[in-house]
Subunit: 195 residues, 2 copies
Amino acid sequence: MARTQGSRSEITGPLIREKSRKLFARHGYAAVSMRQIASAVGVQAGALYAYTADKQALLFQLLESHMQTLLAAWQDDATADPLTRLERFVRFHIDFSLDHSDAVFLSYMELRNLTPENYRAIAALRGRYEALLEGILRDGIEAGLMRIADRKLASMALIAMLTGVTTWYQEGGRLDRRRIGDIYWSLTRGAVGAD
Amino acid sequence: MARTQGSRSEITGPLIREKSRKLFARHGYAAVSMRQIASAVGVQAGALYAYTADKQALLFQLLESHMQTLLAAWQDDATADPLTRLERFVRFHIDFSLDHSDAVFLSYMELRNLTPENYRAIAALRGRYEALLEGILRDGIEAGLMRIADRKLASMALIAMLTGVTTWYQEGGRLDRRRIGDIYWSLTRGAVGAD
DNA sequence: GTCTATAGGCCGATAGAC
DNA sequence: GTCTATCGGCCTATAGAC
């Protein structure tokens, strides 16, 4: 990966994020050295510090941009039928999680390696996402379409269930994504008492 | 924690496991040094190697004994009503996960730091546990008490949902364990189509 | 923006004394 | 079983040249 000296910030910046995301997800934040990241990018370790203050800032940037991307990607239609909105959320969450499985894994697993203020920032973004699902459940209950004992707990439980798909899904496995979405939607519909 | 020289294998062994479990869960396997573990135990780093071949063996021992404890703790009654068995499983899994949250977190997060053969051993134990739930679902379906599109997927989805309780539960929080069990059982009963 | 070189420090694991 | 001391190595981050 070694290459000649030169300036290519428009390439190196995204590449640092891509390679560190993959390496952190595979081996863990603490286990990956700046030298390994630099090697994967094709620069020397010192060059990384032109893009990031330190290793911690690199991790935070990965998690923060992941959560922002997630929040931006979800487009709800609050005027639609709550069950239709919930089904869309289920399929969206599964697809997004599988499309960004490294970042999803990081966002769950490396929270403890964030400084306290960085942790609070990510937790707040996560709370916003959970609140989006909770809003759908609230509307569904009010419309008499769902029966749920505790909205907040149900939101977290459903998100944990849906995100879990990343732990076993394999491209080209027994089930394709459409079928997986069908099955999880069936489980979700039952869980919220919509049958 | 420093103490005088002496032989106390019956104390040091369990203490090493207890302290390393806690440190690994809090900071991650790779981030914790043998010196830190030794310091928490109250010995010098070299002394640890009288109990474990290396750091990897220590991690494996923690995960393996956790899975064995889990499998030994679950007592099913295959002659009972499948819905009763499922409810017992839900409450058991939540309680066990909360009682062993450090080990649960480790078992999910440090799998990638196991050598390939150690990984296979843990994955096999995990598969045995999932199969126990799958058996309950199978019996429930055959008895016409449950409606599930895919037993294997439903087992993994339910376990992910239930284990998720460890990410937000706080002792003395809004809900006590009994109430949490009620809510998750309600979600589970709906998810398996038992309403 | 990237390089080389390096500072200052911690790492896992082992040897040998007690 | 535990200690002290240490080997050889890798770590993050910075300095200064180009």
